[in-house]
């Protein structure tokens, strides 16, 4: 898993950009294991426009530090829990996707 970390505010991105869209500082490439733990999660039943429900949102704390909001893979039927281990499985139209380990 490749991440890009802002040298200024520490924000983590999964896609490369010139500068941090949050604070404008330079970005540094940082390889990540893709492993993390569930910091919180919510199953969304009434969703955003054009997004079929239900889907599971997970706020993931990465092993290397920092958190990102992601989806749990649609075909992952395991019951998430706070502190549960997850691994990055790729980027979709709706951003990062993780699986429970």
């Amino acid at each position: 898993m490749e991440t890009f970390v802002c040298a200024g505010c520490g924000r983590i991105y999964l896609e490369k950009s010139e500068r941090c869209v949050h604070c404008g500082s330079d970005m540094e490439e940082r390889p990540a294991s893709g492993r993390g733990i569930v910091y919180s999660f919510s199953s969304v039943h009434m969703g955003a426009q054009g997004m079929p429900t239900p889907y599971l949102l997970v706020l993931v704390e990465l092993e290397e530090g920092g958190r990102i909001l992601a989806r749990l893979a649609d075909d992952d039927e395991s019951e998430p829990s706070i502190g549960g281990k997850v691994i990055f499985s790729g980027l979709s139209d709706t951003g990062p996707v993780f699986r429970m380990l």
Partner: protein, 386 residues
């Protein structure tokens, strides 16, 4: 800086309204001017809170339109946008304009018209109050963000589903007594607990209402207020603070830093302590949000906020009733109007004009208005005339 007082308030009933966005704003403004006994041409500055006129009804630039419909003439008109705290920001700008001596009479209003959009469209419009690049694009709606927050609060502090649900029961019991509330009826604990899930652990009755409505306030210098109203209400504090909206940027998502900062600043300005507050209007966009705000403002220790509604401290008749208006939960949440409507409710209470929901002898009231997932917060403290 000189003291500032409220000499007039106005509101429209909240709910599904036929009137246009601009008409709603003008109705509330005229009601407030009538309450203050002022003619429109006496107003010297106008501040309007509105979140998403363009997205909801296709109209931006509404401050001069509401001013024109109210008959204010050529006065400076400024629209403030701070998501769900837009009304609180408008109030603060009005307070600063009068406190600085720049103007003697300022009119503040907040308005939103939301019910003409479909529910999923509304969810997407509201989601833009968060960080779209890292949240809405992933599918987070506001109920989802507060679902994540609630789950973490339950995990860290042992807050229970029942405690969270009790906030809805309480605020509906209050809103039932408010003739301007959107949903004037009780809900039971089982109704809240067993409601259709929206973003678990939050269900339908944990979410505030999608409403149309407007509210307005007239301000003048405290030293001349009694010439305009027999019961002026003094603005004892007007504070505002900010934070990053994205949950992934927050060290701890069970607290809102902007609320803590604005709260501390407000109590410092007013020279009061938490025990001095007789009632509060708290931003209950979701049931969980009221519990967190009670903790962030220092009324309860961290993790103890859930006790408020369960044990009755925050109910009418309790030590510090919270959301006597019904709150966003039952009175309704026309986003841009909410912060001003909170000031409307406190003003009625501090004048002793709140009818069936009156808090006896209320002298100090606090209004807490939160924007998005905590990126903006406005806190006002108001005091009755001795």
């Amino acid at each position: 800086m000189r003291g500032v007082s409220i000499i007039g308030v106005g509101i429209t009933p909240f709910g599904v309204r036929e009137e246009s966005l601009v008409a709603l704003g003008a109705i509330a403004c005229r009601n407030a001017l009538e309450d203050a006994g002022l003619a429109p041409e006496q107003i010297e500055a106008f501040f309007l809170g509105n979140f998403a006129g363009q997205a909801f009804v296709g109209q931006n630039h509404i401050a001069p339109m509401v001013a024109h419909a109210t008959g204010l003439g050529a006065v400076p008109c400024t629209r403030l946008e701070g998501a769900c705290a837009s009304g609180g920001l408008a109030m603060r700008q009005g307070v600063l304009a009068v406190a600085s001596g720049q103007v003697d009479f300022a009119l503040i209003a907040g308005v939103e018209k939301m019910t003409s959009a479909e529910t999923d469209e509304t969810a997407s419009i509201l989601a833009a109050a968060g960080d779209v690049a890292v949240e809405a694009s992933v599918g987070s709606t506001f109920p989802a963000l507060f679902g994540l927050i609630a789950r973490r609060h339950m995990h860290e502090h042992g807050t229970t589903r029942e405690e969270i649900a009790h906030v809805a029961v309480k605020n509906h019991a209050h809103g039932k007594l408010n003739p301007n509330a959107h949903m004037q009826k009780d809900v039971t604990l089982p109704q809240v607990m067993d409601a259709r899930p929206v973003a678990d652990p939050l269900g339908l009755f944990d979410c505030s209402l999608i409403s149309d409505g407007a509210a307005a306030v007239v301000l003048c210098p405290a030293e001349t207020a009694s010439a305009h109203h027999e019961k002026p209400v003094e603005v004892l504090a007007s504070a505002q603070a900010s934070d990053s909206p994205a949950l992934s940027d927050k060290r701890d998502i069970t607290t809102f830093y902007a609320t803590q900062k604005a709260g501390e600043e407000a109590f410092s300005q007013a020279g009061l302590s938490r025990e001095d507050v007789d009632l509060a209007e708290i931003h209950d966009c979701f049931t969980m949000a009221e519990i967190i705000a009670l903790e962030d403002l220092g009324f309860f220790a961290r993790g103890e906020g859930g006790r408020g509604a369960v044990e009755g401290m925050t109910k009418l008749g309790g030590a510090m009733p919270v959301n006597t208006s019904g709150g966003l939960k039952s009175k309704g949440h026309p986003v841009g109007a909410t912060g001003v409507a909170q000031i409307h409710e406190l003003t009625l209470q501090l004048r002793g004009e709140a009818g069936a929901r009156q808090v006896p002898g209320a002298e100090v009231g606090l209004a807490h208005n939160l924007g998005g997932s905590g990126a903006t917060c406005a806190v006002h403290i108001l005091g009755a005339t001795a």
